[in-house]
């Protein structure tokens, strides 16, 4: 197995699927000669040509809308939104259109589309290059939403997303792109959408998380392990569908749950995770549910101080874990 970054995983998934299936193509801003702002599609234009590597105008609604039409006509487009913060102008196409095409035609038309976008903070992206958008979309039936955080998951889930028969919003945490390295199978593989990953097995409490925070939670768990606190860390990997079974199994075992996400707390993914636990496993809990999340302010600021104050880190996560374990 090769050691790759998350960025490598994303690139290889797109690349290999484009080679495998000529219905797959990519469109977005600066995906051509520039090779995407993170260099994900570097070299693709030369390899696949202008028909399949389309530098679009600066217009997100049409990036998604044109891709929706192409998907309806039998292609497998990958629509790239340069930064998640710029997905808002395409909201209508994603929520009002793509997510409803199968349903509104009673299955006669479908929309096998991947919308990829880098999200999240920790790279000094300031107010409009740091947002987490998953909670703005996860309420929408008809969409699937992936939030992988390891090179293997990024690659394997993106392949699954491209082969999926339904629209998938694929969120890549931009801080993980180069930071997170890991082993990835050399031969073709997929990681299914909708199955959480138990990133660390433990018995004292469950940390339910995803994205960059998976890594921070595992780091915190390792630190706590030295003090005899044995935490389980669940990486959701997709927030719609959400793997209820893995969450509930873990919580029933540990009887304590902490949800961690970088995204703001109020109405975030943690809300639904808590609701599911409170509906299904309330009497199996030995402690109240807890959430460690981004603060309920409009966005992450540019100054380092804002970014640091906004993002949960291993220390803050570890402190909450300790408290919960001691409850």
């Amino acid at each position: 197995m090769a050691v790759k970054t998350v960025l490598d995983g994303v690139r290889d998934a797109i690349h290999d699927e484009m080679k495998r299936d000529d219905r797959v193509f990519i469109m977005g801003e600066d995906v051509g000669p520039r090779g995407n702002v993170f260099l994900i599609t570097k070299g693709f234009l030369d390899e696949f040509g202008r028909d399949r590597v389309i530098d679009t105008p600066l217009a997100e609604a049409s990036i998604v809308g044109v891709a929706v039409g192409a998907a309806m006509a039998g292609m497998r487009p990958i629509a790239e939104i340069q930064f998640a913060d710029f997905i808002y102008p395409a909201y209508n196409q994603i929520v009002g259109e793509a997510a409803k095409i199968r349903y509104r035609t009673a299955g006669a038309q479908t929309c096998p589309l991947v919308i990829r976008t880098p999200y999240g903070g920790g790279v000094r992206g300031a107010l409009s290059h740091s947002v987490s958008v998953e909670a703005l979309f996860y309420h929408v039936p008809g969409l699937k939403i992936c939030v992988p955080s390891t090179p293997r998951d990024a690659q394997g889930m993106l392949v699954s997303a491209i082969r999926d028969e339904d629209p998938v919003l694929f969120l890549e945490h931009k801080r993980t792109y180069r930071l997170i390295k890991g082993e990835v199978p050399d031969s073709e593989f997929t990681v299914p959408i909708g199955v959480a990953d138990v990133a660390r097995t433990g018995k004292d409490l469950s940390v339910i998380t995803y994205g960059l925070m998976r890594h921070f939670a595992v780091e915190a768990a390792e630190t706590l392990a030295r003090d005899g606190i044995d935490a389980e860390v669940i990486d959701l990997r997709s927030v719609r569908p959400l793997d209820r079974a893995t969450i509930l199994d873990s919580v029933r075992k540990t009887r304590r749950a902490l949800v961690v996400h970088e995204d703001q707390k109020f109405g975030g993914i943690g809300a639904e995770v808590c609701a599911i636990i409170a509906e299904e496993a309330l009497f199996e809990l030995d402690a109240p549910l807890r959430r460690v999340c981004g603060p309920d302010v409009p966005a992450m600021g540019y100054a380092k101080e804002y970014e640091e104050a906004f993002m949960p880190n291993p220390e803050r996560i570890g402190a909450a874990m300790r408290e919960l374990a001691a409850f």
Binding site: P57, G65, T105, R240
Partner: protein, 338 residues
């Protein structure tokens, strides 16, 4: 049918006398479907109806300019005549009005006229104005990528051209020279908002220059005039020369939909004056002038259309509605998840 008249040589390119009569029949059939929809709405049998009265000319003309079975149509909710001229049957139309389970457009999920008839190359649309315009561009892009000689016709009202998504669609289409034709059915109103409050220009076609594509105007109450310009644009698109924006000037005879009352924003005189523009008697006159139709044939065709619509109504009304279980189907390929 009697022998064809001498003027035949002067028929528009590509249209035979039979086709012209068929076009006339589609206009009449549509009018009857339209009237039926409103009657059913007044009777409380269906909650909603949209009208295309005043648009029959542009729609029938455009439908016949396409290569049926090959070209795709990405219509809008006012395109009853377009759909009925492109393979949709009166039964199918009535099924959607009654929102029956077997409604082929959406199984009773969408408002009438939101389609999806993929086996006849008609796409699905939502009610969200202009959202379908980029879809049409994407479809055209896909056909071109696959080297299929398919042209995509995308229709919309003049009000829709104010939406940002419309702009993005035309811009993209022109840069990539996709084989699409944009057809604006300009009826001068977006519900109650008159054109002068929608845009500071007289001709929607003038917007084409901003995208580097030709903008053409035609008389949308005249099916032959529309046919001619749409056909030229379709040929241009098929030849790889890029998209065209066509503005067909027509009018809206009735209120926006069964939920609207145009008397609140149009004077009775204005509404009355529209009658003189009715595309059906106009086209009748055109056909008669050329000896292509006579009163007897007209009466016969009207009777036939009425019978078709009556039969379709009775049949559709009898079909079963969706059931509670139908609510949960077709959420994902794999069923319902969450």
């Amino acid at each position: 049918m009697k022998s064809e008249p001498k003027v035949r040589a002067s028929l528009p390119d590509g249209l035979t006398a039979d086709t012209l009569r068929e076009m006339y029949y589609r206009m009449v059939l549509t009018r009857m479907c339209d009237d039926r929809a409103f009657a059913l709405n007044r009777q409380g049998k269906i909650p909603f109806a949209a009208t295309c009265q005043g648009h029959e000319g542009v729609q029938v003309g455009a439908a016949y300019a396409l290569k049926r079975g090959t070209d795709w149509l990405v219509p809008y909710y006012r395109d009853t005549a377009l759909a009925l001229s492109y393979g949709v049957t009166p039964r199918e139309q009535l099924m959607c009005l009654f929102a029956r389970k077997a409604d082929i457009f959406s199984s009773g999920r969408q408002f009438p006229n939101h389609y999806s008839v993929p086996d006849r190359n008609i796409a699905s649309i939502s009610s969200i104005i202009a959202a379908h315009v980029t879809h049409g561009v994407g479809m055209a892009l896909a056909f071109r990528m696959r080297k299929q000689p398919i042209v995509t016709l995308i229709t919309f009202g003049e009000g829709s051209t104010s939406e940002g998504e419309w702009h993005e669609a035309l811009n993209f289409a022109s840069i990539h020279k996709v084989p699409a034709v944009f057809l604006c059915e300009n009826n001068e109103f977006a519900i109650s908002v008159p054109q002068k409050l929608q845009m500071a220009i007289t001709n929607v076609a003038d917007r084409a220059a901003g995208y580097g594509m030709p903008g053409v105007i035609c008389d949308g109450t005249d099916p032959v005039a529309t046919y001619t310009v749409v056909r030229a644009a379709v040929e241009r698109a098929r030849a790889g020369e890029g998209p065209t924006l066509i503005e067909a000037k027509c009018y809206r005879a009735m209120s926006h939909t069964s939920d609207d009352n145009q008397a609140t924003y149009r004077t009775p005189q204005e509404i009355e004056a529209l009658k003189s523009r009715d595309p059906i008697p106009r086209f009748e006159g055109w056909l008669k002038d050329r000896g292509l139709i006579d009163d007897e044939t007209i009466a016969q065709l009207k009777k036939k259309a009425q019978a078709e619509v009556d039969e379709a109504t009775d049949w559709a009304e009898q079909q079963p509605p969706p059931t509670e279980e139908d609510l949960y189907t077709h959420v994902y390929a794999s069923g319902a998840l969450s």
